[in-house]
């Protein structure tokens, strides 16, 4: 029974093939002799098969638009950077103009 409890905790990883080799062999050996755990494993395999069958591909329009909000944000950020640089440059020109005007006066 203790072994069943131990194996039971590994069954989901077993059906998902996430176990290390040693654990995998341990589970297989146990399943070979335990009808109850075999039935548990069968239930998990049914769930896994159902899960994989129910996975659908992403429709093209959803796939194509998945990163749209990131692109919009990045593009807005680029526009802000450009606007900042333009203002900074204009201020520099203005400052130089003021200096020249002061010198002329």
């Amino acid at each position: 029974m203790t072994e069943c409890n131990e194996i039971s905790e590994m069954l989901v990883d077993y059906v998902n093939r996430r176990l290390q080799k040693v654990e995998n062999i341990q589970v297989i050996n146990h399943l070979a002799q335990c009808k109850c755990c075999r039935s548990d494993a069968a239930a998990y395999i049914s769930l896994k098969n159902h899960a994989l069958e129910s996975m659908t591909s992403i429709p093209k329009d959803i796939m194509d638009s998945a990163f749209n909000k990131i692109h919009s944000q990045e593009s807005a950020l680029d526009s802000c950077k450009l606007a900042y640089e333009t203002v900074k440059y204009s201020m520099l020109i203005l400052k130089q103009t003021i200096t020249l005007v002061r010198q002329a006066i």
Partner: protein, 192 residues
Amino acid sequence: MKAEKRGDANGFYYDSCAENTLIDKAKKGNTSAFEELMSIHLKVIYNYINSRIAEKEDVKDILQETMLAVWKGIKSFDSNSSFKTWCFSITKRKVADYYREAYKNATIPIKEVEDFLAVEDEKDSIDTKLIIEKAIASLNQTEKDIVFFAFNAQLSYSEISEIISIPVGTIKSKMSSIKEKLKKQLANGGGL
């Protein structure tokens, strides 16, 4: 360096080294690397959102919101934990936000309500596939999430625990109870 893709049909990705390279590039603001990185996980993320939300336009919007949130948060992502788990935590939060908003506005149809699997007198209920679908449909949302993250996303108990904020021991016992429910329904030919 172009990352080598070794994911299976469901988009699972096993080359953590290449994944880390993409994460590092994305952290530096490289959107192409980010898109390549996310394309690995996009199918499972999409399927989770699609399983929770009925309206196609809303699924599209939540997927975009999720991508944006992952993009915004990637700089603070701690590479010591699993990127996939972290992405699912964000996805689950975005879906929860959607339902919070839906509850406030009370206008958005909830997929579970429309689920044809809830129909008791389904003609083919003897069919095993349908029995499994009915068994899953009869689960509460937390149990459905556990099944999704365990079998669709193929995460470990500890990763699931991280995403849905329930102790590992509780996840294990819930999984065991889900399995017992399924076995019972399979034995009864689908009857509850």
